[in-house]
């Protein structure tokens, strides 16, 4: 997946250099979307995702009787 992101970016740069701005921009946008998807996968994956248990952003509900 990372290889595809870099492939899209490299293609965007090369195509942009050879005067095909619209195709180049489309490729750069595709690269950005794929990179965002990969980033979300990295942080939410149950196996390899990176959890940050020391940061609590949700409201913690107190246990009964607490």
């Amino acid at each position: 997946m990372m290889a595809v992101v870099f492939a899209a970016l490299t293609l965007a740069l090369i195509v942009g250099w050879f005067s095909r701005p619209r195709i180049a921009i489309a490729l750069a946008v595709i690269c950005l979307l794929l990179a965002a998807k990969l980033f979300l996968f990295e942080i939410y994956s149950p196996e390899t995702g990176f959890r940050m248990p020391w940061l609590q952003t949700g409201l913690t509900v107190p246990a009964d009787g607490a």
Binding site: A3, L9, P21, A24
Partner: protein, 197 residues
């Protein structure tokens, strides 16, 4: 057809614009070169989030290269800024991840001037967004900037072309390197997956 006559102020604004963009691309190219030197000379393999930060920096360069090749446009500036925002999001996430060291989750790689790469990336992303904001504030999005092509300044245009080709070459090397490191799958590796051990 003759090009419209420009005042000295308009030409100066265009020159400032291209100088500003050149400087931004130069700094990013230097940072990427340093990161790749650490990777190839000191064997510090980039993690998946580090690679995404490189993607973001190349993306910022993409918008700048486009401005030199096809003239000033908000579209290219916007694309560069989107990649800068992406850089900020990824680097903040990684810094928050490593700010609390535990086994398997320490900062990866050497510290440069006391700061690790994700922390540097936050500063770089903030600097890039500030630079774009200041550029818009001072130069605005004048029609004039779009009228004057980089070729009007031969020396700067030539230097920008050399730097652009250098950035494209860096991106190609990174692409090959990523294929060797990760193959076509996920990138959780501790070595180059496709190279013999």
């Amino acid at each position: 057809m003759n090009a419209p006559a420009l005042t000295v102020e308009q030409r100066l604004a265009a020159l400032l614009n291209y100088n500003f963009l050149f400087l931004m691309m130069f700094v990013i190219a230097a940072i990427l070169t340093a990161a790749m030197t650490l990777q190839y000379a000191y064997g510090e393999l980039p993690c998946p989030l580090c690679l995404l930060q490189r993607v973001a920096m190349f993306g910022v360069c993409f918008g700048i290269v486009q401005q030199f090749r096809h003239g000033f446009s908000y579209r290219n500036s916007g694309l560069s800024m989107l990649f800068a925002i992406f850089l900020l999001i990824v680097s903040v996430r990684q810094t928050l991840l490593d700010i609390y060291p535990r086994p398997g989750h320490e900062y990866i790689g050497s510290a440069v001037f006391g700061l690790h790469m994700p922390v540097w990336s936050i500063l770089i992303a903030l600097a890039l967004m500030t630079a774009f904001a200041i550029k818009f504030l001072i130069l605005g999005g004048d029609e004039t900037l779009a009228k004057v092509r980089a070729e009007s300044f031969p020396l700067l245009s030539r230097l920008a072309a050399i730097l652009s080709v250098y950035v494209i070459a860096l991106c190609m090397i990174n692409f090959v390197s990523v294929v060797l490191q990760c193959g076509l799958g996920e990138c959780h590796t501790f070595g180059y997956a496709l190279l013999p051990k």
